[in-house]
Protein backbone atom coordinates (compact mmCIF):
# COMPACT_ATOMS: atom_id res chain seq x y z
CA UNK A 1 0.00 0.00 0.00
CA UNK A 2 1.19 3.54 -0.71
CA UNK A 3 0.48 5.69 2.36
CA UNK A 4 0.60 9.04 0.64
CA UNK A 5 -0.33 8.33 -2.99
CA UNK A 6 -0.38 12.04 -3.85
CA UNK A 7 3.25 12.72 -2.97
CA UNK A 8 4.86 9.32 -3.38
CA UNK A 9 3.88 8.97 -7.03
CA UNK A 10 4.49 12.53 -8.25
CA UNK A 11 6.06 12.93 -11.70
CA UNK A 12 9.74 13.92 -11.61
CA UNK A 13 9.11 17.55 -12.67
CA UNK A 14 6.60 17.99 -9.86
CA UNK A 15 9.02 16.50 -7.30
CA UNK A 16 11.74 18.85 -8.48
CA UNK A 17 9.42 21.85 -8.40
CA UNK A 18 8.52 21.07 -4.79
CA UNK A 19 12.17 20.49 -3.93
CA UNK A 20 13.26 23.84 -5.37
CA UNK A 21 10.55 25.76 -3.59
CA UNK A 22 11.30 24.10 -0.29
CA UNK A 23 15.06 24.38 -0.75
CA UNK A 24 14.84 28.12 -1.32
CA UNK A 25 12.76 28.49 1.77
CA UNK A 26 15.01 26.39 4.04
CA UNK A 27 18.18 28.13 2.82
CA UNK A 28 16.60 31.50 3.50
CA UNK A 29 15.57 30.32 6.94
CA UNK A 30 18.95 28.91 8.04
CA UNK A 31 20.72 31.99 6.69
CA UNK A 32 18.50 34.18 8.82
CA UNK A 33 18.42 32.08 12.00
CA UNK A 34 21.47 29.79 12.29
CA UNK A 35 24.73 31.72 12.72
CA UNK A 36 27.10 28.89 11.67
CA UNK A 37 25.22 28.50 8.35
CA UNK A 38 25.26 32.24 7.71
CA UNK A 39 28.98 32.36 8.42
CA UNK A 40 29.78 29.46 6.10
CA UNK A 41 27.62 30.85 3.31
CA UNK A 42 29.20 34.28 3.65
CA UNK A 43 32.64 32.71 3.47
CA UNK A 44 31.60 30.83 0.33
CA UNK A 45 30.14 34.04 -1.11
CA UNK A 46 26.66 32.64 -1.63
CA UNK A 47 23.38 34.26 -0.64
CA UNK A 48 19.93 32.63 -0.32
CA UNK A 49 18.73 34.46 -3.45
CA UNK A 50 21.50 32.75 -5.48
CA UNK A 51 19.56 29.47 -5.26
CA UNK A 52 17.62 29.73 -8.51
CA UNK A 53 17.63 26.08 -9.55
CA UNK A 54 18.28 22.72 -7.93
CA UNK A 55 21.73 22.77 -9.55
CA UNK A 56 22.58 25.78 -7.39
CA UNK A 57 22.48 23.46 -4.37
CA UNK A 58 26.09 22.53 -5.06
CA UNK A 59 27.14 26.14 -4.48
CA UNK A 60 26.29 25.73 -0.80
CA UNK A 61 28.94 24.58 1.67
CA UNK A 62 28.77 21.09 3.18
CA UNK A 63 27.80 20.48 6.78
CA UNK A 64 29.78 17.87 8.73
CA UNK A 65 29.66 16.17 12.09
CA UNK A 66 32.49 18.52 13.16
CA UNK A 67 30.18 21.49 12.58
CA UNK A 68 27.63 19.90 14.88
CA UNK A 69 30.28 19.22 17.51
CA UNK A 70 31.55 22.79 17.42
CA UNK A 71 28.04 24.05 18.03
CA UNK A 72 27.16 21.54 20.73
CA UNK A 73 24.54 21.20 22.02
CA UNK A 74 21.93 23.52 20.48
CA UNK A 75 23.97 25.92 18.33
CA UNK A 76 22.61 24.62 15.02
CA UNK A 77 18.95 24.80 16.02
CA UNK A 78 16.91 27.09 13.79
CA UNK A 79 14.19 27.81 16.33
CA UNK A 80 14.25 28.96 19.95
CA UNK A 81 14.34 26.12 22.49
CA UNK A 82 10.75 26.93 23.55
CA UNK A 83 9.58 25.58 20.21
CA UNK A 84 11.62 22.38 20.49
CA UNK A 85 9.41 19.64 21.91
CA UNK A 86 11.95 16.81 21.76
CA UNK A 87 15.68 16.15 21.44
CA UNK A 88 17.50 13.01 20.36
CA UNK A 89 21.22 12.33 20.22
CA UNK A 90 23.69 10.04 18.53
CA UNK A 91 27.40 9.37 18.94
CA UNK A 92 29.76 12.25 18.40
CA UNK A 93 33.37 11.81 17.39
CA UNK A 94 34.58 12.59 20.91
CA UNK A 95 32.99 12.35 24.33
CA UNK A 96 30.06 14.59 23.43
CA UNK A 97 27.03 13.33 21.54
CA UNK A 98 25.50 14.90 18.45
CA UNK A 99 22.23 16.54 19.51
CA UNK A 100 19.23 17.11 17.25
CA UNK A 101 15.87 18.77 17.96
CA UNK A 102 12.27 18.56 16.74
CA UNK A 103 9.38 21.01 16.78
CA UNK A 104 5.83 19.74 17.14
CA UNK A 105 5.52 19.89 13.36
CA UNK A 106 8.81 18.00 12.89
CA UNK A 107 7.46 15.17 15.08
CA UNK A 108 4.34 15.20 12.93
CA UNK A 109 6.37 15.07 9.68
CA UNK A 110 8.48 12.27 11.09
CA UNK A 111 5.41 10.24 12.04
CA UNK A 112 4.06 10.76 8.49
CA UNK A 113 7.31 9.59 6.92
CA UNK A 114 7.51 6.58 9.23
CA UNK A 115 3.89 5.71 8.36
CA UNK A 116 4.95 5.84 4.69
CA UNK A 117 7.98 3.70 5.55
CA UNK A 118 5.95 1.02 7.29
CA UNK A 119 3.33 0.99 4.50
CA UNK A 120 6.14 0.69 1.95
CA UNK A 121 7.30 -2.45 3.79
CA UNK A 122 3.79 -3.90 3.59
CA UNK A 123 2.63 -3.03 7.11
CA UNK A 124 -1.00 -1.96 7.57
CA UNK A 125 -3.69 -1.24 10.12
CA UNK A 126 -4.37 -4.41 12.10
CA UNK A 127 -0.70 -5.38 12.22
CA UNK A 128 0.99 -5.84 15.58
CA UNK A 129 4.38 -4.10 15.47
CA UNK A 130 6.96 -5.59 17.82
CA UNK A 131 9.30 -2.62 18.15
CA UNK A 132 12.62 -3.86 19.53
CA UNK A 133 14.60 -0.75 18.57
CA UNK A 134 15.97 1.02 21.63
CA UNK A 135 13.80 3.74 23.17
CA UNK A 136 15.68 6.75 24.44
CA UNK A 137 18.08 9.26 22.96
CA UNK A 138 18.47 6.90 20.00
CA UNK A 139 15.90 7.78 17.31
CA UNK A 140 15.03 4.17 16.40
CA UNK A 141 12.51 3.29 19.11
CA UNK A 142 10.39 6.44 19.15
CA UNK A 143 10.67 6.93 15.38
CA UNK A 144 9.05 3.56 14.67
CA UNK A 145 6.63 4.00 17.53
CA UNK A 146 5.08 7.21 16.23
CA UNK A 147 4.99 5.93 12.65
CA UNK A 148 3.22 2.71 13.58
CA UNK A 149 0.66 4.64 15.63
CA UNK A 150 0.09 7.04 12.75
CA UNK A 151 -0.45 4.09 10.44
CA UNK A 152 -3.00 2.68 12.86
CA UNK A 153 -1.09 -0.48 13.73
CA UNK A 154 -0.78 -1.82 17.28
CA UNK A 155 2.62 -1.04 18.77
CA UNK A 156 4.43 -3.15 21.35
CA UNK A 157 7.10 -0.76 22.68
CA UNK A 158 9.33 -3.56 23.90
CA UNK A 159 12.71 -1.90 23.21
CA UNK A 160 15.90 -4.01 23.19
CA UNK A 161 17.18 -6.83 25.38
CA UNK A 162 15.88 -9.88 27.23
CA UNK A 163 15.43 -11.97 24.11
CA UNK A 164 13.56 -14.89 25.67
CA UNK A 165 10.91 -12.56 27.02
CA UNK A 166 10.71 -10.86 23.63
CA UNK A 167 9.94 -14.21 22.02
CA UNK A 168 7.29 -15.03 24.62
CA UNK A 169 5.57 -11.71 24.01
CA UNK A 170 5.87 -12.10 20.26
CA UNK A 171 4.09 -15.43 20.58
CA UNK A 172 1.47 -14.41 23.14
CA UNK A 173 0.61 -11.02 21.60
CA UNK A 174 0.61 -12.31 18.03
CA UNK A 175 3.22 -9.87 16.70
CA UNK A 176 3.17 -9.69 12.90
CA UNK A 177 5.93 -7.14 12.28
CA UNK A 178 9.40 -7.11 13.81
CA UNK A 179 11.45 -3.92 13.91
CA UNK A 180 15.05 -4.05 15.18
CA UNK A 181 18.63 -4.16 13.96
CA UNK A 182 19.34 -6.99 11.50
CA UNK A 183 21.90 -8.55 13.84
CA UNK A 184 19.35 -8.59 16.65
CA UNK A 185 16.85 -10.26 14.30
CA UNK A 186 19.39 -13.02 13.74
CA UNK A 187 19.96 -13.27 17.46
CA UNK A 188 16.23 -13.66 18.02
CA UNK A 189 16.16 -16.38 15.37
CA UNK A 190 19.00 -18.21 17.09
CA UNK A 191 17.33 -18.02 20.50
CA UNK A 192 14.07 -19.30 19.00
CA UNK A 193 15.98 -22.30 17.70
CA UNK A 194 17.93 -22.89 20.92
CA UNK A 195 14.86 -22.75 23.14
CA UNK A 196 12.85 -25.03 20.85
CA UNK A 197 10.05 -22.54 20.39
CA UNK A 198 7.62 -23.81 17.76
CA UNK A 199 8.01 -21.20 15.03
CA UNK A 200 4.53 -22.00 13.69
CA UNK A 201 3.23 -20.26 16.81
CA UNK A 202 4.88 -17.02 15.68
CA UNK A 203 2.95 -14.81 13.30
CA UNK A 204 5.81 -12.50 12.25
CA UNK A 205 5.38 -11.78 8.54
CA UNK A 206 7.78 -8.96 7.84
CA UNK A 207 10.76 -7.32 9.50
CA UNK A 208 12.12 -3.80 8.99
CA UNK A 209 15.78 -3.76 9.84
CA UNK A 210 18.26 -0.91 9.95
CA UNK A 211 20.71 1.17 12.03
CA UNK A 212 23.61 -0.96 10.77
CA UNK A 213 24.80 -2.20 7.37
CA UNK A 214 23.78 -5.68 6.30
CA UNK A 215 24.30 -7.71 3.17
CA UNK A 216 22.04 -9.68 0.83
CA UNK A 217 23.45 -12.84 2.43
CA UNK A 218 22.27 -11.67 5.80
CA UNK A 219 18.85 -10.90 4.32
CA UNK A 220 18.59 -14.45 2.98
CA UNK A 221 19.62 -15.86 6.35
CA UNK A 222 17.08 -13.79 8.29
CA UNK A 223 14.29 -14.55 5.82
CA UNK A 224 15.01 -18.26 5.92
CA UNK A 225 15.44 -18.55 9.68
CA UNK A 226 12.41 -16.46 10.61
CA UNK A 227 10.27 -17.20 7.56
CA UNK A 228 9.62 -13.51 6.86
CA UNK A 229 10.29 -10.74 4.35
CA UNK A 230 13.26 -8.67 5.52
CA UNK A 231 13.19 -5.00 4.51
CA UNK A 232 16.07 -2.53 4.76
CA UNK A 233 15.50 0.94 6.20
CA UNK A 234 17.89 3.86 6.30
CA UNK A 235 18.06 6.95 8.41
CA UNK A 236 20.29 8.97 10.70
CA UNK A 237 19.42 11.32 13.50
CA UNK A 238 21.13 14.30 11.87
CA UNK A 239 18.66 14.05 8.98
CA UNK A 240 15.68 12.91 11.03
CA UNK A 241 16.14 9.37 12.29
CA UNK A 242 14.60 6.32 10.61
CA UNK A 243 12.28 7.20 7.76
CA UNK A 244 14.70 8.83 5.35
CA UNK A 245 14.51 5.92 2.92
CA UNK A 246 13.20 2.36 2.83
CA UNK A 247 12.86 -0.59 0.49
CA UNK A 248 9.47 -1.49 -0.90
CA UNK A 249 8.20 -5.01 -0.30
CA UNK A 250 7.42 -5.39 -4.01
CA UNK A 251 11.01 -5.01 -5.19
CA UNK A 252 13.28 -5.26 -2.13
CA UNK A 253 16.00 -3.56 -4.09
CA UNK A 254 16.99 0.02 -3.48
CA UNK A 255 15.59 2.22 -0.72
CA UNK A 256 13.06 4.85 -1.80
CA UNK A 257 14.17 8.25 -0.55
CA UNK A 258 11.34 10.53 0.53
CA UNK A 259 12.46 13.21 -1.86
CA UNK A 260 9.72 15.69 -1.06
CA UNK A 261 11.47 16.06 2.32
CA UNK A 262 15.12 15.30 1.57
CA UNK A 263 17.39 15.99 -1.39
CA UNK A 264 20.08 13.33 -1.87
CA UNK A 265 23.39 13.97 -3.63
CA UNK A 266 26.27 11.61 -4.27
CA UNK A 267 29.71 13.18 -4.04
CA UNK A 268 33.30 12.16 -4.40
CA UNK A 269 34.37 11.99 -0.73
CA UNK A 270 37.87 13.22 -1.58
CA UNK A 271 37.08 16.20 -3.81
CA UNK A 272 33.55 16.96 -2.69
CA UNK A 273 32.44 17.08 -6.32
CA UNK A 274 28.90 15.98 -7.17
CA UNK A 275 28.91 12.73 -9.14
CA UNK A 276 26.53 11.93 -12.00
CA UNK A 277 23.47 9.78 -11.19
CA UNK A 278 24.31 6.09 -10.81
CA UNK A 279 27.87 6.59 -9.67
CA UNK A 280 29.03 5.33 -6.32
CA UNK A 281 30.14 7.85 -3.73
CA UNK A 282 29.29 9.50 -0.42
CA UNK A 283 25.67 10.25 0.30
CA UNK A 284 24.83 13.87 1.17
CA UNK A 285 21.43 15.05 2.38
CA UNK A 286 19.67 18.38 2.57
CA UNK A 287 16.47 18.47 4.63
CA UNK A 288 13.63 20.44 3.07
CA UNK A 289 10.93 20.64 5.71
CA UNK A 290 12.55 20.31 9.10
CA UNK A 291 12.03 23.30 11.39
CA UNK A 292 14.14 22.78 14.50
CA UNK A 293 17.18 21.16 12.97
CA UNK A 294 17.43 21.71 9.23
CA UNK A 295 20.67 20.54 7.64
CA UNK A 296 22.19 21.73 4.41
CA UNK A 297 24.29 19.27 2.43
CA UNK A 298 25.06 17.06 5.41
CA UNK A 299 27.84 14.59 4.71
CA UNK A 300 26.56 11.22 5.95
CA UNK A 301 29.89 9.43 5.20
CA UNK A 302 27.79 6.50 3.96
CA UNK A 303 28.81 5.08 0.59
CA UNK A 304 26.08 4.17 -1.90
CA UNK A 305 24.71 5.04 -5.36
CA UNK A 306 21.38 6.38 -6.54
CA UNK A 307 19.01 4.35 -8.70
CA UNK A 308 16.94 6.63 -10.94
CA UNK A 309 15.02 3.96 -12.88
CA UNK A 310 11.29 3.70 -12.07
CA UNK A 311 10.27 1.02 -9.57
CA UNK A 312 7.53 -1.59 -10.01
CA UNK A 313 5.87 -0.46 -6.78
CA UNK A 314 4.72 2.79 -8.41
CA UNK A 315 6.68 5.17 -6.20
CA UNK A 316 8.52 7.76 -8.26
CA UNK A 317 11.16 8.68 -5.71
CA UNK A 318 14.75 7.81 -6.52
CA UNK A 319 16.19 4.89 -4.66
CA UNK A 320 19.56 4.46 -2.99
CA UNK A 321 21.34 1.14 -2.95
CA UNK A 322 22.00 -0.63 0.33
CA UNK A 323 24.83 1.23 2.04
CA UNK A 324 28.05 -0.64 1.38
CA UNK A 325 30.58 1.23 3.47
CA UNK A 326 31.76 4.45 5.07
CA UNK A 327 34.07 7.19 3.94
CA UNK A 328 35.26 7.62 7.52
CA UNK A 329 36.28 5.22 10.27
CA UNK A 330 32.95 5.01 12.07
CA UNK A 331 32.02 1.53 13.30
CA UNK A 332 28.54 0.27 13.97
CA UNK A 333 28.55 -2.10 16.94
CA UNK A 334 25.20 -3.72 17.72
CA UNK A 335 23.47 -0.76 16.07
CA UNK A 336 25.45 1.83 18.03
CA UNK A 337 27.74 4.21 16.16
CA UNK A 338 31.27 4.17 17.51
CA UNK A 339 34.14 6.36 16.38
CA UNK A 340 37.71 5.24 17.08
CA UNK A 341 38.33 8.82 18.20
CA UNK A 342 35.85 8.28 21.08
CA UNK A 343 37.80 5.24 22.19
CA UNK A 344 41.05 7.18 22.01
CA UNK A 345 39.44 9.94 24.05
CA UNK A 346 38.57 7.48 26.84
CA UNK A 347 42.03 5.90 26.82
CA UNK A 348 43.74 9.26 26.98
CA UNK A 349 41.73 10.15 30.05
CA UNK A 350 43.30 7.22 31.91
CA UNK A 351 46.63 8.24 33.36
CA UNK A 352 49.63 6.42 31.96
CA UNK A 353 47.84 4.85 29.02
CA UNK A 354 49.71 5.40 25.79
CA UNK A 355 47.99 6.18 22.53
CA UNK A 356 48.85 2.78 21.12
CA UNK A 357 45.68 0.79 20.84
CA UNK A 358 43.84 -1.35 18.40
CA UNK A 359 40.17 -2.11 18.03
CA UNK A 360 39.15 -5.57 16.95
CA UNK A 361 35.57 -6.11 15.92
CA UNK A 362 34.16 -9.55 15.33
CA UNK A 363 30.86 -11.32 15.35
CA UNK A 364 30.10 -14.10 17.81
CA UNK A 365 26.94 -15.81 16.69
CA UNK A 366 24.76 -12.90 15.60
CA UNK A 367 26.23 -10.34 17.97
CA UNK A 368 29.03 -7.89 17.40
CA UNK A 369 31.87 -7.99 19.88
CA UNK A 370 34.51 -5.33 20.25
CA UNK A 371 37.88 -5.73 21.87
CA UNK A 372 40.20 -2.83 22.57
CA UNK A 373 43.82 -3.81 22.91
CA UNK A 374 45.90 -1.51 25.07
CA UNK A 375 49.67 -1.71 25.37
CA UNK A 376 50.99 -2.02 28.90
CA UNK A 377 53.60 0.67 29.42
CA UNK A 378 55.83 0.93 32.48
CA UNK A 379 53.58 3.68 33.79
CA UNK A 380 50.59 1.41 34.17
CA UNK A 381 52.38 -1.87 34.78
CA UNK A 382 52.21 -3.46 38.21
CA UNK A 383 53.57 -6.70 39.63
CA UNK A 384 50.10 -7.36 41.04
CA UNK A 385 47.40 -9.04 38.98
CA UNK A 386 44.58 -7.24 40.73
CA UNK A 387 45.98 -3.82 39.82
CA UNK A 388 46.16 -4.65 36.11
CA UNK A 389 42.77 -6.34 36.10
CA UNK A 390 41.31 -3.38 37.93
CA UNK A 391 42.73 -1.06 35.30
CA UNK A 392 41.23 -3.09 32.46
CA UNK A 393 37.87 -3.12 34.23
CA UNK A 394 37.97 0.62 34.82
CA UNK A 395 38.65 1.30 31.15
CA UNK A 396 35.83 -1.08 30.20
CA UNK A 397 33.43 0.82 32.43
CA UNK A 398 34.42 4.20 31.03
CA UNK A 399 34.09 2.85 27.49
CA UNK A 400 30.61 1.62 28.28
CA UNK A 401 29.64 5.00 29.68
CA UNK A 402 31.03 6.94 26.74
CA UNK A 403 30.14 4.60 23.89
CA UNK A 404 26.85 3.18 25.20
CA UNK A 405 28.07 -0.23 24.12
CA UNK A 406 30.29 -2.61 26.00
CA UNK A 407 33.73 -3.73 24.92
CA UNK A 408 36.43 -5.96 26.28
CA UNK A 409 39.77 -4.41 27.14
CA UNK A 410 42.76 -6.67 26.57
CA UNK A 411 46.16 -5.68 27.89
CA UNK A 412 48.97 -6.50 25.49
CA UNK A 413 52.75 -6.26 25.50
CA UNK A 414 54.30 -3.02 24.29
CA UNK A 415 55.11 -2.68 20.60
CA UNK A 416 52.84 -5.59 19.71
CA UNK A 417 50.36 -3.27 18.05
CA UNK A 418 51.52 -2.62 14.57
CA UNK A 419 53.05 0.82 14.04
CA UNK A 420 52.29 1.88 10.52
CA UNK A 421 53.93 4.69 8.70
CA UNK A 422 51.52 7.54 8.42
CA UNK A 423 47.99 6.67 9.46
CA UNK A 424 47.86 4.01 12.15
CA UNK A 425 45.64 1.04 11.47
CA UNK A 426 43.39 1.29 14.46
CA UNK A 427 40.58 -1.00 13.48
CA UNK A 428 40.51 -4.62 12.43
CA UNK A 429 36.99 -5.55 11.44
CA UNK A 430 36.67 -9.30 11.07
CA UNK A 431 32.91 -9.31 10.60
CA UNK A 432 31.59 -10.86 7.45
CA UNK A 433 28.27 -9.21 6.79
Amino acid sequence: MIWNEEFETLPREAIEAIQLKRLQSVVERVYATVAPYRKKMDEAGVKPEDIKSLDDLRRLPFTTKDDLRENYPFGMFAVPLERVVRVHASSGTTGKPTVVGYTRRDIDTWAELMARTLACAGVHRGDVVHNAYGYGLFTGGLGFHYGAERLGATVIPISGGNTKRQIMIMKDFGSTVLTCTPSYALNIADVIRETNVDSSELKIRVGIFGAEPWSENMREEIEKKLGIDAIDIYGLSEIMGPGVSVECIEKKHGLHIFEDHFIPEIIDPQTGEVLPPGEKGELVFTTLTKEAFPVIRYRTRDITRLITEPCICGRTFYRMEKVTGRSDDMLIIRGVNVFPSQIEHVLMSVEGVEPHYQIIVDREGALDVMEVQVEVSEDIFSDEIKVLEGLAKRIEQEMKETLSVSCKVRLVEPKTIQRSEGKAKRVIDKRKI
Binding site: V376, E378, F381, S382, D383, E384, I385, E413, P414, T416
Partner: protein
Amino acid sequence: MKVEQISIFLENKSGRLAEVTRILSQAGINIRALSLADTSDFGILRLIVNDTEKAKAVLKENGFTVGKTEVVAIEVPDRPGGLAGILEALEGKDINVEYMYAFVQSSGENAIIIFRFDELEKAIAALQEAGVRILKGEEVYAL
Protein backbone atom coordinates in the same frame (compact mmCIF):
# COMPACT_ATOMS: atom_id res chain seq x y z
CA MET B 1 66.51 -6.56 54.58
CA LYS B 2 64.85 -6.00 51.21
CA VAL B 3 65.28 -7.95 48.04
CA GLU B 4 64.82 -6.53 44.57
CA GLN B 5 62.49 -8.41 42.33
CA ILE B 6 61.76 -7.70 38.69
CA SER B 7 58.35 -8.32 37.17
CA ILE B 8 57.62 -8.73 33.49
CA PHE B 9 54.32 -8.36 31.65
CA LEU B 10 53.60 -11.34 29.40
CA GLU B 11 50.76 -11.89 27.02
CA ASN B 12 49.18 -15.26 27.43
CA LYS B 13 50.55 -16.79 24.25
CA SER B 14 53.03 -19.50 23.56
CA GLY B 15 56.74 -18.79 23.50
CA ARG B 16 56.72 -15.63 25.62
CA LEU B 17 58.19 -17.22 28.74
CA ALA B 18 60.83 -18.99 26.68
CA GLU B 19 61.71 -15.64 25.10
CA VAL B 20 62.41 -14.15 28.54
CA THR B 21 64.60 -17.04 29.68
CA ARG B 22 66.45 -16.99 26.35
CA ILE B 23 67.26 -13.29 26.70
CA LEU B 24 68.43 -13.74 30.29
CA SER B 25 70.55 -16.75 29.42
CA GLN B 26 72.24 -14.89 26.58
CA ALA B 27 73.05 -12.07 28.99
CA GLY B 28 74.55 -14.58 31.43
CA ILE B 29 71.98 -13.89 34.11
CA ASN B 30 71.05 -16.50 36.64
CA ILE B 31 67.50 -16.83 37.94
CA ARG B 32 67.34 -17.35 41.71
CA ALA B 33 63.61 -17.53 42.27
CA LEU B 34 60.61 -17.32 40.02
CA SER B 35 56.85 -17.17 40.10
CA LEU B 36 54.28 -16.72 37.37
CA ALA B 37 50.82 -15.34 38.06
CA ASP B 38 48.34 -15.53 35.25
CA THR B 39 44.84 -14.65 34.09
CA SER B 40 43.13 -15.80 30.91
CA ASP B 41 44.65 -12.88 28.99
CA PHE B 42 48.02 -12.11 30.49
CA GLY B 43 50.60 -13.16 33.02
CA ILE B 44 53.08 -11.47 35.32
CA LEU B 45 56.44 -13.15 35.68
CA ARG B 46 58.31 -12.29 38.87
CA LEU B 47 61.99 -13.03 39.10
CA ILE B 48 64.84 -12.63 41.51
CA VAL B 49 68.11 -12.75 39.62
CA ASN B 50 71.77 -12.35 40.37
CA ASP B 51 71.94 -9.02 38.55
CA THR B 52 68.69 -7.06 38.72
CA GLU B 53 69.81 -3.96 36.81
CA LYS B 54 71.30 -5.89 33.95
CA ALA B 55 68.29 -8.19 33.68
CA LYS B 56 65.97 -5.20 33.60
CA ALA B 57 68.04 -3.47 30.94
CA VAL B 58 68.27 -6.43 28.55
CA LEU B 59 64.58 -7.22 28.85
CA LYS B 60 63.63 -3.61 28.19
CA GLU B 61 65.94 -3.54 25.21
CA ASN B 62 63.96 -6.48 23.87
CA GLY B 63 60.69 -4.64 24.21
CA PHE B 64 59.31 -6.07 27.43
CA THR B 65 57.55 -3.99 30.05
CA VAL B 66 59.58 -4.49 33.21
CA GLY B 67 58.94 -3.30 36.74
CA LYS B 68 61.04 -3.43 39.87
CA THR B 69 59.60 -4.15 43.32
CA GLU B 70 61.02 -4.68 46.77
CA VAL B 71 60.12 -7.93 48.44
CA VAL B 72 61.18 -9.74 51.61
CA ALA B 73 62.91 -13.14 51.69
CA ILE B 74 62.49 -15.17 54.81
CA GLU B 75 64.08 -18.38 55.90
CA VAL B 76 61.56 -20.88 57.15
CA PRO B 77 62.32 -24.14 58.92
CA ASP B 78 61.46 -26.92 56.46
CA ARG B 79 59.05 -28.75 58.76
CA PRO B 80 55.30 -28.75 59.50
CA GLY B 81 54.19 -25.46 61.04
CA GLY B 82 57.17 -23.53 59.68
CA LEU B 83 55.11 -21.10 57.62
CA ALA B 84 52.27 -20.95 60.11
CA GLY B 85 54.61 -19.56 62.75
CA ILE B 86 55.65 -16.73 60.47
CA LEU B 87 52.16 -15.75 59.42
CA GLU B 88 51.15 -15.65 63.07
CA ALA B 89 53.81 -13.01 63.64
CA LEU B 90 52.02 -10.80 61.12
CA GLU B 91 48.53 -11.39 62.43
CA GLY B 92 46.58 -8.48 63.86
CA LYS B 93 49.11 -5.95 62.58
CA ASP B 94 47.11 -4.80 59.56
CA ILE B 95 49.63 -6.10 57.08
CA ASN B 96 48.50 -7.75 53.88
CA VAL B 97 50.39 -10.31 51.86
CA GLU B 98 49.87 -9.36 48.21
CA TYR B 99 51.46 -12.59 47.05
CA MET B 100 54.20 -15.03 48.02
CA TYR B 101 56.16 -17.88 46.59
CA ALA B 102 58.55 -20.40 48.03
CA PHE B 103 61.53 -22.47 47.09
CA VAL B 104 63.60 -25.02 48.95
CA GLN B 105 67.35 -24.68 49.11
CA SER B 106 69.57 -27.51 47.96
CA SER B 107 70.74 -28.20 51.48
CA GLY B 108 67.11 -29.05 52.19
CA GLU B 109 67.03 -27.80 55.76
CA ASN B 110 65.29 -24.50 55.27
CA ALA B 111 62.82 -23.17 52.74
CA ILE B 112 62.97 -19.61 51.51
CA ILE B 113 59.75 -17.70 51.05
CA ILE B 114 59.46 -14.49 49.09
CA PHE B 115 56.76 -12.14 50.38
CA ARG B 116 55.28 -9.10 48.74
CA PHE B 117 53.64 -6.99 51.46
CA ASP B 118 51.48 -3.91 51.11
CA GLU B 119 53.32 -2.34 54.05
CA LEU B 120 56.94 -3.37 53.65
CA GLU B 121 58.55 -1.55 56.60
CA LYS B 122 55.84 -2.53 59.03
CA ALA B 123 56.13 -6.16 57.95
CA ILE B 124 59.90 -6.20 58.40
CA ALA B 125 59.58 -4.75 61.88
CA ALA B 126 56.97 -7.31 62.88
CA LEU B 127 59.04 -10.20 61.54
CA GLN B 128 62.19 -9.00 63.26
CA GLU B 129 60.31 -8.65 66.51
CA ALA B 130 59.20 -12.26 66.20
CA GLY B 131 62.79 -13.32 65.62
CA VAL B 132 62.26 -14.52 62.06
CA ARG B 133 65.41 -14.64 59.98
CA ILE B 134 65.16 -12.24 57.07
CA LEU B 135 67.68 -12.71 54.29
CA LYS B 136 69.68 -9.80 52.94
CA GLY B 137 69.46 -9.03 49.24
CA GLU B 138 73.05 -10.17 48.62
CA GLU B 139 72.37 -13.49 50.27
CA VAL B 140 69.47 -14.19 47.94
CA TYR B 141 71.22 -13.00 44.76
CA ALA B 142 74.15 -15.27 45.59
CA LEU B 143 72.19 -18.37 46.52
